[in-house]
Amino acid sequence: MNTPYIIDDQEGGRFKVARNTFTSQEVFEQERDRIFQNCWLYLGHESELSKPGDFVARSVAGQNLLFVKGRDGVIRALFNVCPHRGATVCREKKGNSKSFQCMYHGWVFKNTGEIAHLSGEPAYEDNFKDDGNCDLRHVPHFDQYAGFYFVAFKKEIEPLADYLAGAKEYLDIVANQSAAGMEIIGGTQEYSIGANWKLLVENSVDGYHAEATHATYLDYLMNTNGSLTATRLAGKGHDLGNGHAVIEYSAPWGRPIAQWIPMWGETGKAELDRVYAELVERLGEDKAKQMATLNRNMIIFPNLVINDIMAITVRTFYPTAPNEMMVNGFALGVIDESDWRREYRLSNFLEFIGPGGFATPDDVEALEQCQRGFQSAANVPWNDISKGMKAKTPSFDDEVQMRAFWREWNRRMTSEEG
């Protein structure tokens, strides 16, 4: 492409993104190599594998992986691909198993990845399987931070802790909401959107769109809680380095970690007061207040969103075409929380988030309408994300978080090394 992907005019306070970055097949293919092969990508949460033998088969950036706790108690990320002739080995989405048998020629693998049974072994050379060539292959890089497990495919990559940069502090806020730890709640929201994946990156941390796109949700809060004036939408946006970003803000909805709303009644109030007191004791007043009362929408470059809002959602997505993405959404909750709190957490989640919520369907509509608009990219070529560019402290409804993402995206897409 001859025109640049972005125009980053800091002096003039203008930031433009070329719309063909959302539509071009060439960009899509380069992203596969330069972004998805080269970055740390979210695989799963530690709570999904509680016992030895637990496994989750998951596709990450189009590759079938097995996230599994071996009989030795070690958590691994294996390619869910038969070393023999390439069939997908485990075809169940999750479960508990000592071993996995490939359906094609019957090779059997231990849940550590090692070959356990080579069918027709006498026909092979002696010691044929001793050098590991019959074992399931390990994903080259695999590490975790605060219970969130990531993989990377590239041979040379910086350590996860360095890669996460300023995002670590915010991952800690999500991970420390209880002394007992956090867990993924059963049931996944699996959907696709007919739009470029970067539109969902932007949307997930976009404080600017709430009032227009989610007018019906704000009406709903007004209807059910009487008034919206108690807590206003207000806060800041932060560039966390390496393409990660967060907005942190107050909002009128209830938070199952200690922001009470009238709908939750006196029982709810007593319970959340207890939760808050525990937070203060464990983390101190400032942290507790930040954790309990502020909302966070965070993007971890390139495709992990953790939104700690009226509930906590962990969302990851990858493109299957320039105009299509696959999305997996999970709910994160506090381990051992009371039935009451779990129920309200889920209820809160569903009223806003996900394909049946009061908000996400309208986000999907917006994204798909943008994608349609980009068909005119040749004639109306630029997106604008300049809002708050000259602000000393950008507001949560400015666009600093999108600029952080796009600068990193552009750096990776245009760097010499590729």
Binding site: K93, I185, G186, G187, T188, Q189, E190, Y191, S192, I193, G194, T213, A215, T216, D219, Y220, N223, T224, E324, M326, F330, A331, D339, R342, E343, L346, S347, F349, L350, E351, G354, P355, G356, F358, T360, P361, D362, V364, E365, A366, E368, R372
Partner: protein, 170 residues
């Protein structure tokens, strides 16, 4: 079976079938307030996740797509009637097919459990999405009317690919 019993069963089936067909036709016509009136005052509406077996799914323990008590169901209808409900304004065209109606259980108090199969087509922006699965209804007599006390829509899908969203009532 005596003739009398057979007539009673036939009548029951007829009432159930009429209710389900009436419901489908109200939804197809976007008469949502009238649709809501088919529910009991504490009627609820659920769409469970597609990766948890239907027998195990529990809205207090699992992440559903939709789990509406009557209050939220009322709010859902209010929302769907607004112009600012962007995903359904302008409105999509919808067509439901309901069949395989089976009366599963009749309790002593007259509560009826019904299963049925559905296909719901939704067309908008030149794209048609298909939702299919089975309904499980709990129906209750109220006065001399049969009302929906609980409606569960179990999707026979591997997630919402490519439907993306459930912006209509299933």
């Amino acid at each position: 079976m005596s003739n009398e019993n057979a007539m009673a069963e036939l009548l029951r089936f007829y009432r159930v079938q009429q209710l389900l067909f009436k419901e489908a036709s109200l939804l197809d016509a976007w008469q949502l307030q009238e649709w809501l009136a088919l529910f009991t005052d504490d009627g609820s509406y659920f769409v469970p996740p597609t990766d948890v077996p239907a027998e195990e799914a529990d809205p207090a323990k699992h992440l559903y797509y939709i789990a509406d008590n009557h209050d939220r169901l009322t709010e859902r209808v209010i929302r769907l009637d607004k112009k600012t409900c962007h995903s359904e304004y302008p409105r999509s065209k919808v067509q439901r097919l309901v069949s395989n109606i089976l009366i599963d259980d009749v309790a002593a108090d007259g509560t009826i459990t019904v299963k049925a199969a559905f296909t719901v087509y939704r067309s908008k922006n030149g794209i048609t999405d298909t939702f299919m699965g089975n309904y499980v209804y709990v129906l209750k007599e109220q006065g001399d009317e049969l009302k929906i006390s609980r409606k569960t829509c179990n999707l026979a899908l591997n997630g919402l690919r490519p439907q993306a969203k459930i912006s209509i009532i299933l």
